[in-house]
């Protein structure tokens, strides 16, 4: 575990600015979600019409919304929703996308053509639009939104996997291990997949950020998490009608979304530099 290679990796990681900044922002997000499972300052669902639109105070750190809910608590609880959307949709994308990408690159020929053209077909539509379409057909709700976003990250992973895997297939050690009598399936699992894992992990962090954004958009349109489940996207949409009365209502969830998406992107960027120093941008 702690051999020379790993220690060197850690040393480089500590010095990498965007990895550290992005990593801490992501950790903050995860921490918030985790804490909110057991404790929030106030019940994020409970309304108290007596204290509607109260300004920030020690009692309510970010003030309250139009129903008198504590905004800080709602934001904390909303992070759960964002994280679960990210996890579920990225998992769907990886499980299916990586499999069909590997299949394409192992089988080649018409199988590869068919899979890649299908991916092109899905790429031709804006992902959000398709997610909206899908949710509109299979019905609104948190789970459906996750599935819809997941489905549209499948071609992203499929393309990436197929490209990276094709590069590995051209390596001599693949030919050498074929000449040792290894079948295509075992080579895929034992040689190709481990060698492209780092690329997939980097893409997963970036896809995670996109999923959070997409979910916020769906919820904003009322197609994602349904009330009373706290969701950043829905907070934004509820704040829309209050924009002149209490503009801060829209600012807080916006900041929460921005921090998580920025953090994940920086993390992905940093990871990419760290796993393959040759790809690092000159700074």
């Amino acid at each position: 575990m702690f051999n020379k290679k790993n220690i060197e990796f850690l040393k480089r990681a500590i010095k990498h600015r965007s990895f550290i900044v992005g990593g801490s922002m992501t950790l903050l997000l995860i921490f918030c979600a985790f804490i909110s499972l057991f404790w929030t300052p106030w019940d994020p669902i409970k309304q108290n019409l007596l204290i509607r639109h109260s300004p920030p105070s020690w009692e309510h750190l970010l003030g309250t919304d139009q129903f008198g809910r504590d905004i800080f608590s709602v934001i904390m609880a909303g992070s759960q929703n964002s994280i679960s959307v990210g996890l579920v949709s990225v998992s769907i994308g990886i499980i299916f996308g990586v499999s069909i990408g590997l299949l394409a690159s192992t089988k080649r020929g018409w199988v590869e053509e068919l899979i890649m053209r299908l991916c092109d077909f899905m790429y031709a539509f804006p992902a959000i639009l398709l997610a909206i379409m899908l949710v509109a057909t299979i019905g609104q709700g948190s789970i459906n939104a996750m599935v819809a976003i997941g489905i549209f990250s499948i071609p992203v992973f499929a393309r990436l996997t197929r490209g990276a895997a094709n590069a590995i297939w051209a390596r001599e050690y693949i030919l050498a291990s074929r000449s040792a009598g290894k079948g295509l399936f075992r080579i895929t699992i034992e040689h190709v997949l481990p060698n492209i894992l780092s690329v997939i992990i980097v893409q997963a962090t970036i896809q995670f950020a996109l999923a959070i954004l997409a979910e916020a958009a769906l919820s904003f349109l009322g197609l994602g998490a349904q009330p009373p489940t706290p969701s950043w996207g829905r907070m934004l949409s509820e704040a829309r009608s209050m924009i002149y009365l209490n503009p801060w209502l829209a600012v807080y969830p916006g900041i929460a979304i921005a921090i998580s998406v920025l953090g994940l992107n920086l993390l992905g960027d940093g990871l990419r530099d760290l796993v393959d120093p040759r790809l690092a941008r000159k700074r």
Binding site: R171, L175, A176, A180, G181, K182, P194
Partner: protein
């Protein structure tokens, strides 16, 4: 044991279809060694890959490759997998890239044996240590858990040899095993391969562009040019009476220590370059660079001419030459 009959390998290139190897036939008996020599692009590596059933995507082969009474070209992938590594082993040109950087060499050497069920789980480590010792890697106990990047080029090639020989195959195909190594290591590696071949009674196909390497290490030679065999024969007979103009050119391009730096004794070269694979001419493939070229060379492909027992060349102008 291995009998190749009329092997043709076709490539589908961006410039159209091309025949990379034409009507190649040869036999390899048990315990014998055979060398294929020729310059880059003459089809020698493709021939090796065809025997393994590992031709690249854009190519296909016709003819027959009979190995132990089975035509390898008609076997499916599953059956080929059982032969590869098990009955036919292969060593590649680039030891630097032929090992997976993510796995230890011990694991990679053990793999073929596990795949083909040659050892029990408990014996694997002992067997790998034996192999490492056999191919001359010092301190096997320490090296077994090394990663490929921790070894030198020569050591990596030794690991490749250990991998290829781990299942004691009947045939070893060595595709330019020493091209990427420097000359002293080259000699060590070739000697090692030769010793192991003798020890296990294996047959070998050695592929090289270096006639010197071939002549010193095999019993029978095939000289290839432009995808066809231009001369073949037992090493001693062929070297003592090199007949085809191309083989003569190859031979006179080997430097010797006696050479002086005066103009008369400069190394001879063959004028021109190998034709593109899509532009190989009809008739004799060597016509464009041959100093003895005549009309018939352009019209017809030369047939085999027997020079002596077990030595033949494919040329119309052998009388003029000698």
């Amino acid at each position: 044991m291995l009998d190749i009959k009329n092997l043709n390998i076709n490539l589908n290139t961006v410039y159209g279809d091309a025949t990379a190897v034409r009507n190649l036939s040869f036999k390899l008996e048990k315990g014998k060694t055979l060398g294929i020599v020729g310059e880059s692009g003459c089809g020698k590596s493709l021939t090796a890959l065809a025997v393994m059933g590992l031709l690249p995507e854009n190519s296909w082969s016709t003819g027959e490759i009979i190995f132990n009474n089975k035509n390898l070209l008609s076997l499916n992938e599953d059956k080929l997998c059982k032969i590869r590594g098990n009955s036919i082993g292969m060593i590649f040109q680039e030891p630097m890239t032929s090992l997976n950087p993510l796995h230890t060499i011990g694991k990679q050497i053990a793999e073929p044996m596990i795949l083909h069920g040659k050892v029990t789980r408990s014996m694997i480590k002992k067997e790998v240590l034996n192999l490492l010792d056999m191919v001359g890697i010092p301190d096997p106990l320490k090296r077994i858990s090394s990663f490929p990047h921790e070894l030198s080029g020569g050591q990596r090639q030794r690991v490749m040899i250990a991998m290829a020989l781990s299942c004691k195959p009947e045939i070893l195909i060595a595709d330019e095993p020493t091209t990427a190594l420097d000359v002293t290591i080259q000699k060590q590696i070739l000697d090692l391969i030769k010793d192991l071949i003798d020890e296990f009674g294996m047959s070998m196909i050695l592929i090289s562009h270096d006639l010197g390497v071939i002549a010193n290490n095999v019993q029978e030679i095939i000289v290839m040019y432009g995808g066809v065999c231009v001369e073949k024969g037992y090493t001693k007979k062929l070297i003592n009476n090199i007949s085809h103009p191309y083989s003569q050119g190859l031979f006179s391009a080997i430097p010797t220590l006696e050479m002086q730096e005066d103009s008369e004794q400069r190394l001879k070269t063959i004028p021109g370059s190998v034709p593109e694979i899509t532009e190989i001419p009809k008739g004799c493939t060597f016509q464009g660079r041959c100093e003895y070229v005549s009309d018939i060379c352009v019209k017809n492909s030369p047939n085999s001419v027997k020079i002596s027992e077990d030595h033949e060349a494919y040329c119309f102008n052998l009388d003029k030459l000698n």
